[in-house]
Amino acid sequence: MAAVDDTPAGTPVIGGRGDALGVRNLSKTFPGTRALSSVSLEVRRGEIHGLVGGNGSGKSTLIKVLTGIHAGDPGGEVELAGQSMSADRVTPEIARASGVRVVHQDLGVFLDLSVAENLSLGSQYETQFGARIRWGTVRKRAASLIKQFDIDAAPGDPVRSLRQSSRTLVAIARACQDVQGSDDGVLILDEPTASLPAHEVSLLLGKLRGYASWGRAILYVSHRLDEVLELTDRATVLRDGRVAGTFITQSLNESKLVELIVGPRLAEVLPTPPSVMSGEPRLTVRRLSVGPVRDLSMTVARGEIVGIAGLLGSGRSSILRGIFGVDRPSAGTVMLDGEDARFKSVTDAMRAGVAYVPENRTEDAAFFDEPVYVNIGAASTSSYYKRFRIRYRIMRHRGAELIEQFGIKASGPDALMSTLSGGNQQKVVLARWVSRQPRLLLLDEPSQGVDVGARAEIWRIVKEVTATGTSVVVVSSDFEELARVVDRAVVLRRGIVAAELTGTDLTADALTRLAYFDYEDDDDACR
């Protein structure tokens, strides 16, 4: 396919006076990288405009420039509410006054306060003499906002009692209340569905369509391509800080979007699974109970990749933590190559050749204020202790090799972990464990928050590792990916194995259906 850089292959888009938001030739340079290069984009009034791109493609930076958190490089231009200004002049105050509103994935609502209080905190409490809050007025105004934004809640309800999608709506109403009635400005939604259960997503999308029909421009930022395809009128794809194109959404499909996000070279994103493995079991789990998981039995062959599919709360992570000696199983046996493997500590598990890449990189894996090479060597520190000293030079040299081998984008082994993008941090953590040549590699959501390109590389690395006989158990909530990557999958539902799929049965649809089984009725009711 032809290169798509800067040349939209879909219907060309014309910017006009009526645009709610215009960005022209915007660049933003950061330490080490140019996060945005000559980005141009228009969002029309009443339009839902998708913004997609891999991690590190510049989406967050663009949002930050539009909201005045980062100053753009001089030379760029931002047009808001009919006024054009230089990109380095946008301040949070100007952005706000021009009607830019952002609702982040982390909503920033106060769960223990009422809906009315949450809405008031976004503007001002109505007060009377002596700064006494006029609760009656506050409640009345909240009721009217609830009605306008069609939120399923009462003013006095604590936000904690609302369902996820309603909390998002409260956050949106709070952000937009003072620009109601004007169609200037733009509402930016940053991954609004990331923490939403599947059946609430369509609910939220429906409401958003309603808001757009008032003339409100919405910039919808998401990793979830199906939502972008379903919801948006047009979509802009960012890649490596450049606009890969702006398209009418109807002219797009998922594979085309992926191609645009990844770029022509990595179009074949995920490796195809090989034929099913056979061989002696490396890992044998019998009637294991750990955390919410009950009576789990499974085997993993040498060189096999087994997936564990399940929703949040199904206990998927507990299994890995139980095997790795972090959580203590309450019952059951675990055997590794025929030997007892109920590890009492992480150290024991590591000694036996087990490795674990945790789900939450920020909290459980990254040493942000340490250099990359120290992060890579962190699980092998004692092996660098020779003749009474830590041999930092050897550690650094090894780190540099692995950076090369894993395609980690860093300015060098001395770069601090905090300067890397999420996908590259994940590769660092993977390198940390793979370099120990484990017998069993446990991966907990290894591609979460990682862009499509880095995902492909992570899976390629995992494949390479299995070629040497390492077995892999991977937990993922991305069933699409799981179905393509693993040899076999176990579906967990409420702590119990609901099914095991292999071969042609192993599809994303099947996994989804099995994992969500209980919720299907609910989902229909919402539509």
Binding site: P31, R34, T347, M350, F367, P371, T381, R396, S411, I461
Partner: protein
């Protein structure tokens, strides 16, 4: 200088192999700034000492070998206590107990000699052991029971201080202690007070353990991200516990040194070193390896505070100025490290931007060669 070699953050900040190839234009300037940053405190200290030395009548007293020797010797004890605090602090665990532990060890060593007729060496071994015991207790509270280290160790500090005051009833223990003990601590080696040499020995050991052994790496790992440290196989509780015990032993040694310096024990002296030691730690984090608590910065910090106090007192300021200096230095040290941190970020940003401009597209080398 040996401390510049083979430490992760030191290689990261100095213009190492990674930066050398690409950082051309800004390199000279940024190297200069790095030197100023790393050795700013030393330069400032030299300026301050010069100022006091040239200050009219008191200048000659300030620079007299007697005064310098006094500062070097007395402050060595503060230095050892600060190093004791540094060990758990590397893992992010504040430990305020060492000054009181040193006071306890001081009283125990002196009492054993004075009231029980022990000879100095075994008494001092017991002093170090008492320090280790306190470390065990602190470790139990902090690593096992997981109580807030700052508050708990402050509690330990107050309790120990009170216990030693109670035991001595406010009196100084000095009877029946061989004169050789006090004389040892007052004597010189190569014209420099012995306690200073001891401080250097302790500093080298602590530096080595923290930066050159797996134990030290584990401490740094815990300090960076405790949960991640646990998941790379570091036995975090045990490591922290070991750190508090090591800290206790070093505190015990400080108590022995205090006994050898004063020839007895005064229960109020050890605990009074808490704030100078804290000030030295924070001050130390602004130099040598800016942004991190470090051994050599701490040693420099100790003598910076001491020189300031001595200079002011000799210039005629009331001796209560000491507390003021400690407090002000704490505040300034925190302010300097905060501001220099921000400044460093900005500088790095500028630096990297320049690099990004000279290498327009370095972003696309995603080919994987396994």
């Amino acid at each position: 200088m040996m401390l510049a070699v083979d430490e992760p953050a030191a290689t990261a900040n100095s213009a190492g192999a990674g930066g050398r190839s690409s950082r051309l234009g800004g390199r000279k300037q940024s190297l200069f700034l790095q030197i100023v940053e790393r050795f700013g405190l030393v330069i400032f200290m030299a300026a301050m000492v010069t100022f006091f030395a040239l200050n009219g009548s008191s200048g000659s007293i300030f620079t007299s070998s007697q005064n310098l020797s006094q500062i070097l010797g007395d402050q060595a004890i503060v230095g050892v206590i600060a190093l004791a605090m540094l060990i758990p602090l590397t893992a992010g665990y504040f430990d305020l107990s060492p000054a009181a532990t040193a006071g306890l060890s001081n009283v125990v060593v002196a009492a054993l000699m004075s009231k029980h007729g022990w000879s100095p060496l075994p008494a001092m071994v017991v002093g170090a052991f008492v320090g280790a015991l306190t470390g065990v207790v602190v470790g139990y509270l902090v690593a096992r029971l997981k109580l807030n280290p700052f508050i708990v160790t402050f509690g330990v500090y107050v309790a120990l201080e009170g216990a030693t005051e109670w035991y001595t009833q406010g009196n100084i223990i000095s009877n029946n202690i061989p004169a050789s003990v006090g004389n040892w601590g007052l004597a010189d080696w190569f014209g420099v007070p012995r306690p200073f040499w001891l401080l250097i020995v302790v500093a080298v050991i602590v530096w080595f353990v923290i930066s050159q052994t797996p134990f030290g790496r584990y401490l740094a790992g815990i300090g960076s991200n405790e949960s991640a440290a646990r998941l790379v196989g570091i036995r975090t509780d045990r490591t922290i516990w070991l750190a508090t015990v090591a800290s206790g032993v070093v505190s015990g040694v400080a108590g022995c040194l205090l006994t050898a310096r004063t020839g007895g024990a005064d229960a109020s002296v050890g605990p009074s070193y808490l704030f100078p030691a804290l000030a030295a730690l924070f001050l130390g984090a602004t130099t040598i390896r800016p942004g991190r608590y470090n051994v050599w910065g701490t040693v420099i910090g100790v003598y910076f505070v001491a020189a300031a106090v001595s200079g002011l007192i000799l210039a005629g300021v009331n001796s209560s100025v000491q507390e003021v200096v400690n407090g002000v230095v704490l505040i300034i040290a925190v302010a300097v490290s905060t501001f220099s941190g921000r400044w460093r970020e900005q500088r790095e940003e500028r630096d990297q931007r320049r690099r990004a401009e000279s290498v327009p597209d370095s972003s696309d080398k995603s080919e994987l060669s396994l």
